[in-house]
Amino acid sequence: MRIGYYPGCSLEGSSKEYNDSLFAVAEKCGVTLEVIKDWSCCGASAAHNLNHDLALALPARTLALAEKQGLEDIVVPCAACYSRIAGTKNEISNNIAVKAKIEGYIDLKLTADVKILTVFEFLQKYIFPTVDQHIVNKLNQKAACYYGCLYTRPKEIAAVEQIENPMEMDEVMAKAGATPIDWAFKTECCGAGLSVSRTDIVAKLSGKIIEDAADRGAESIVVACPMCHMNLDMRRPEIKKQLKKDINIPVLFITQALGLSMGIPADKLGLNKHYVPTDKVVNCIVKMEA
């Protein structure tokens, strides 16, 4: 099986560590990812806010390129990209007229039958089969897995089984030796696309999320999306102002957490790139007995 990879814009820029940690984990397990050649931006929230056709055409181009390249599974580590691409695939496969129109715009033919995997689906499908032999550390801490909206809704493209109480990331964290906690804000929205233009709102929404995790004793928040990461990690000063208290829980990408349990060095996983220091996580690692 040739596994395709769609990094998305953020993983080339502000969330490079997510990209790096994903590759580090894959490499350790001997899994290769092929980047989709000449991929372009999915349009994220901006396109569907302003133009529906554009919101379909941009992801469709990527899908078509993946097909051309002969890929069957593609891993999309960003929740926004996942949502756009899976949504486009869904709409195109259910409506021939739309499909024809979009094919016209992008000058490419589509079957839309590639399978789109989130990072946690990828981990479960391709990493889990061999991961046990690589796990050397136990992440001895309570982790709050945060899924946000784009993996859990709308139900037609949800990447999780139970949309109100998803467990897929929790399973990955359990593998890494952490204790996933039951909390109330797993799937609440962090403010996503308003991060730049209405930071005040993002601070409010993300603040509630972080507060609930803290109240329930979480020692880390684990995400699988660069936007969630940005809002929960980098927007901490605004959140602090909003909550009128300082909460220092670090926010990790799920690949970083799993990478730590596999003994991959923290800097290789890009843990130094976070706004909220991550030493607390690194410090609670326990070596497993041989």
């Binding site: 139970q162 949309i163 109100e164 109480n165 109330a184 609930d212 109240d215």
Partner: protein, 667 residues
């Protein structure tokens, strides 16, 4: 050789004003097979009927066509006349030249021609008619009542009090159904047990009622008046003839941690148990999957040791009995939608999010808290309680579009009961509409709002989550511009949807009755036959048909009882012989039926059975269809389905219909 008489009616001037009746009579007289033809002023009058009778006798007529009004008006009249004259009444047909001709067309040649066409058509038909005889079936004057909730109890008592035998089958160890679990009942707030218990006892003691608890219907065959029913008596492990109900066994039973169904899981019972103190019969059964004796290979045996009556029998097995009944009343009630259905409300996850029936048990004096409303998690009396109406009902996304009908009322009742017990407490109800359309019902809800100060908030709750021991209820007030309302509650009660009994579908298949897509049993007609089913002799009572409250369940139960009593009022049933028949031929074919059973699939009444045709030596020659005349209603759908015309409908046979078509078109 057919000798047909044709009688053309003037109906005063109703027909003769536009149709040239004399001409019709004259032309009809010339049709092949017509031996006599006449027109007359009022055919249905006494002289008119006498004219027909005399003509039949005088002209030795083999059949008659009365060209007059609609058969829906006077077919019976003229069939009786034919019978009086000594011919089979089914040799009489009517040609409708009034409603379909004279009243709808002007006086003209075309009108007269159309009248003649119709007469010719009916003459052609009557020539193909055959003598038919009313079908008579004997009636077994015993009713089977399936389900011992309030509906089944009411129906059983009504029938038994009318002097007929009743067999009641209840699958649980006690009768009583949901009503026995209720605390107080709307709209009067009288104690449910107080009005229920006497009726349960009456059933047990009634000389005409045979009660089988812990029993189920295994199979049903036969038809109205003559059903054969096999009943499965599940092994109780207790000999009821010996047991006195002393209770020594369940007091001593060491398996004490079994969630108590009667208290909706909010308490425990033992492995040998009687479900509640007022149970009828108040004798125990052993719940084998939870009994040490059965799970640990003969260990324990304590109940047998302590039983003073030596009633315990570990070797008891399921038994089957066969009974014959004439009518069946289905009263198997409803279920409530359970866990996993409301992930957004945390039902099944948070202990203090409960459903309406659990609330009933909390509010009941005989319940796990002796009637004090305390929350399950820590036993605290809630200071703020939220009721969520329409939880799962009227929710297309969850597959239940219908309104559960009773929950508006019981939610108002619950809020009231709570307020009566906790004056300082705050009760909120999230609702979409208040459906309280019964006698004194809206007044009841208004009382909750106006006198007991229950806060009604119009809006649906989006989500409930738990935080620091409180349940955060995220709702909205759509009457305040959609303002979000978040309530920190101590307890939440969901008015979960009323759904069909989980076994409804399999029971319906055993009984051959229809059900809707939500598995509620279907009535024969929504307005005019609301308690009967499509299968003659099987009636419905209570919430097995649709969500119902007690007054409605009881009314319907009495109505279905009266249908059964009506059925039992004579010794045999007479039915019109308009039924389907499978043709018969001489050996070696016996019938042209190939046994494809396409007819069986389409018959709305499950009237088609299979018949094994055997030779003299008893060897199977072929399997063919056979119509159960007791069940067939004469729709003829099977006839149109049969590819080789092996099944036909008496009175509307292939031959008759084809003759009509040919005669109509070939003047």
């Amino acid at each position: 050789m057919a000798r047909i008489g044709v009688f053309i009616c003037h109906c005063g001037e109703n027909i003769s004003a536009t149709v040239d009746v004399a001409k019709v009579a004259e032309k009809a007289g010339k049709l092949s097979g017509v031996a006599f033809s006449v027109d007359y002023k009022y055919m249905c009058s006494d002289p008119g009927q006498t004219l027909i009778i005399e003509a039949i006798k005088e002209h030795k007529l083999t059949g008659i066509v009365v060209a007059a009004c609609s058969p829906r008006m006077h077919e019976g009249t003229f069939r009786k006349a034919a019978e009086k004259a000594g011919i089979n009444p089914y040799f009489c047909e009517m040609a409708n030249i009034r409603e379909h001709v004279s009243w709808v067309h002007p006086k003209s040649d075309a009108t007269t021609q159309k009248a003649l066409d119709i007469v010719r058509t009916m003459v052609a038909k009557v020539k193909k008619n055959a003598a038919l005889f009313p079908i008579k079936v004997p009636v077994t004057k015993t009713a089977l009542v399936i389900g011992g909730g309030i509906a089944g109890i009411q129906a059983a008592l009504d029938i038994a009090n009318a002097g007929h035998q009743v067999i009641m089958v209840e699958k649980k160890p006690s009768i009583g159904g949901h009503m026995s679990q209720l605390s107080e009942t709307f709209p009067t707030l009288d104690c449910s047990q107080c009005i229920m218990t006497p009726r349960m006892v009456e059933v047990a003691q009634h000389p005409n009622i045979t009660l089988h608890t812990y029993a189920e219907v295994e199979s049903v065959s036969g038809f109205v008046g003559n059903f054969d029913v096999k009943i499965k008596m599940k092994a109780k492990s207790v000999d009821y003839k010996k047991c006195t109900g002393c209770g020594a066994c369940w007091q001593k039973c060491p398996s004490k941690k079994i969630p108590d169904e009667f208290n909706e899981g909010m308490g425990f019972r033992t492995a040998i148990y009687s479900p509640f103190p007022q149970a009828v019969p108040n004798k125990p059964v052993i719940d084998r999957p939870n009994c040490t004796y059965f799970t640990k290979g003969g260990k324990c045996g304590l109940c047998k040791k302590v039983c003073p009556a030596d009633a315990i029998n570990y070797d008891a097995v399921d038994e089957f009995i066969d009974v014959k009944v004439g009518a069946i009343i289905t009263a198997t009630g409803f279920d409530l939608k359970h866990a996993d259905f409301f992930p957004e409300y945390g039902y099944g996850k948070f202990k203090d999010v409960i459903d309406g029936m659990q609330f009933e048990r909390l509010a009941s004096a005989s319940g796990p808290t002796a009637g004090e409303i305390r929350r399950p998690s820590d036993g605290k009396v809630p200071e703020k309680i939220v009721f969520v109406a329409c939880a799962g009902s009227r929710d297309k996304a969850k597959g239940i579009e219908y309104c559960s009908k009773i929950c508006c009322m019981y939610t108002a009742k619950h809020a009231m009961l709570y307020k009566h017990k906790n004056h300082e407490g705050k009760a909120y109800v999230f609702y979409m509409d208040i459906r309280a359309a019964g006698k004194d019902y809206d007044e009841f809800v208004r009382r909750a709002i106006e006198e007991d100060e229950v806060q009604y908030i119009r809006g649906r709750v989006s989500r409930i989550y738990e935080k620091n021991g409180k349940l955060i209820v995220k709702g909205v007030d759509t009457l305040m511009n959609g303002e979000p309302v978040d309530i920190e509650a101590d307890m939440v009660v969901l008015a979960t949807a009323v759904v069909a009994n989980i076994e409804a579908e399999s029971l319906a298949q055993k009984l051959h009755i229809s059900y809707n897509k939500h598995k509620f049993f279907a009535e024969a007609h929504p307005k005019l036959k609301p308690v009967e089913t499509n299968t003659a002799g099987i009636m419905l009572a209570g919430a097995c048909q649709s969500a119902k409250d007690i007054p409605e369940s009881v009314s319907q139960a009495s109505a279905s009882a009266s249908k059964a009593i009506g059925l039992f009022s004579s010794n045999e049933l007479t039915r019109e012989p308009i039924v389907a028949v499978v043709n018969r031929q001489a050996p070696p074919n016996f019938t042209s039926c190939t046994g494809c059973l396409l007819c069986q699939e389409v018959c709305p009444y499950h009237a088609i059975e299979t018949e094994d045709i055997k030779d003299r030596g008893g060897n199977l020659i072929k399997r063919a269809a056979r119509v159960n005349a007791g069940l067939c209603q004469g729709c003829g759908t099977c006839v149109a389905m049969c590819r080789n015309k092996s099944i036909d409908l008496q009175g509307f046979s292939n031959d008759q219909m084809l003759s009509e078509v040919m005669a109509l078109l070939n003047a």
